[in-house]
């Protein structure tokens, strides 16, 4: 069984606008009408679960939800066919807003709330449930930011518990939470570099710096480290190899980048669960991420489109 853990899920609210203008100080107000909008459950683990479900693979989504927006998250996941196992909290699940401007969809504007504060007793409840789920888990996906009130060492603790229970861990987060979780040696590490282009405090500004930082994480016990190099290419470091995964897809084809990174991880997991080699999983993962970026919908739903996308993906040993 695959378990995805999203400690800080969100309602993803997306607006498509013809032009995005900011209110001038001299104006009383400025109205921008959306030409389209969508509402869906979001967060790294949540998106990965939705991706897997759309490809027919079962997973259990866990984490914290609260209030009206918490019900939106749970309802959307159930409609997507994902099994839910969330802990209800006193607070309200956050809302993340994405503004997609016509013709500039490749660089959306994002406004992300920090999330509800988690109380110690709510964390205890989650840990009890997580422990129960680990009896059945083979893979655990830990991803996303941490809500206020949660110790940055939490991903390390969750990863260690999963490893002790015999499950493989995929970790995708950034900052201190990432650095502290590396000690638990997750199977796959994908740093979230949207805010911090760093790994263990080292700047990831060149290919050489990425490879060096990745190799250090491998030496600490991880099996695969994947680091974003540019929008259509990543670098994967394993014990034996360093690969550059790249696509010739032009960024002008991108329609919605939100969730593309989570589809990437979901694609890798989808293939690894089926026993495919890492090289194949990496190619499929990038294709899944690009297929998501090229669809207006947050997460792509067609295996055929991903397979089509794979024709443009190359894997080169560095």
């Amino acid at each position: 069984m695959i378990v995805t853990m999203t400690l800080n899920p969100a309602v993803d609210k997306m607006y498509w606008v013809e032009a995005l203008k900011v209110c001038d100080v001299t104006q009383e107000e400025f109205l921008t009408r959306a030409t389209r909008s969508t509402t869906s459950a979001g967060g790294k683990g949540v998106n990965t679960s939705v991706f897997l479900s759309r490809l027919g693979m079962e997973s259990v989504a866990m984490g914290f939800v609260g209030g009206y927006t918490g019900h939106v998250v749970v309802r959307d996941l159930r409609d997507e066919g994902v099994t839910t196992n969330f802990v209800w909290t006193h607070g309200e699940t956050r809302v993340n807003v994405t503004l997609l401007q016509q013709g500039r969809e490749h660089s959306p504007n994002l406004i992300n709330e920090s999330g509800q504060t988690i109380l110690p007793e709510e964390m205890d409840r989650l840990m009890r449930r997580y422990r129960r789920m680990l009896n059945r888990a083979t893979w655990v996906v830990l991803g996303g930011s941490l809500p206020p009130g949660v110790d940055p060492g939490i991903y390390g603790e969750l990863a260690q518990m999963a490893k002790d229970a015999g499950a493989k861990v995929i970790l995708s987060t950034g900052g201190e939470a990432l650095t502290r979780a590396l000690k638990a040696c997750p199977y796959i590490v994908k740093p979230d570099t949207r805010e911090h282009m760093t790994l263990e405090g080292k700047e990831l500004t060149s290919v050489d710096a990425i490879v060096e930082a990745g190799k250090h994480v491998i030496a600490c016990g991880a099996e695969i480290v994947i680091i974003s190099h540019d929008v259509t290419g990543d670098i994967a470091i394993t014990r034996d190899d360093v690969w550059e995964i790249k696509s010739s897809t032009p960024t002008s084809k991108f329609r919605n980048l939100v969730g593309a990174d989570d589809a990437f991880l979901g694609g890798i997991l989808y293939k690894l669960v089926q026993g495919e080699p890492v090289s194949e999983a990496l190619k499929f993962g990038l294709a899944a991420g690009l297929a998501s970026a090229e669809s207006e919908e947050k997460i792509c739903r067609s295996l055929a489109v991903i397979e089509e996308e794979m024709r443009d993906v190359t894997l080169v040993k560095l």
């Binding site: 259990v60 099994t83 839910t84 009890r128 449930r129 129960r132």
Partner: protein
């Protein structure tokens, strides 16, 4: 149709040692009228509902009354509920649990829900682990 095709895939459940206060919080926030009780392996061991808590907080003779006009107000309920709020739910749990499996026919779930007048029935896998529940509304929305 099989139960797996109509069930709500949700694993919200509680353990027998949580206090009554926490159970009320979960029932209220998850908007569930009842919740399965599981052990540390996720095996279904019981069931507890709002009704069980109300029954626990009311005087024993309440159900024998034909009318509530003998009860002056809700103070008795509030007082009793405050007394049991921090007690583990264990003694209020129903341990005789009706359940169906994912591979059962939808008719079996419908039969239990209608004949036993329950709002939902837990679904377990072949090992007895909770995998979801069939709600009354699941039956209705799938057959419309």
């Amino acid at each position: 149709m099989k139960v797996r095709e109509i069930m709500t895939k949700d694993l919200t459940a509680v353990e027998k040692n949580i206090p009554v206060r926490e159970l009320i919080f979960i029932l209220n926030n998850a908007e569930m009228p009842n919740v399965p009780v599981v052990d540390e392996d996720g095996l279904l061991t019981g069931f507890i509902s709002e009704k069980d808590l109300i029954r626990a907080a009311l005087p024993g003779y309440f159900e024998m009354l034909h009318s509530t006009s003998f009860i002056p107000d809700m103070n008795q309920l509030a007082k009793k509920l405050a007394q049991i709020a921090d007690e583990p739910i264990e003694r209020f749990i129903r341990t005789t649990v009706m359940s169906v499996t994912e591979d059962d026919d939808d008719l079996q779930a419908a039969d239990l829900i209608i004949r036993k007048n329950i709002k939902n029935v837990p679904v377990v896998d072949k090992d007895g682990r909770l995998v979801g529940r069939v709600r009354r509304i699941d039956l209705l929305r799938h057959f419309l």
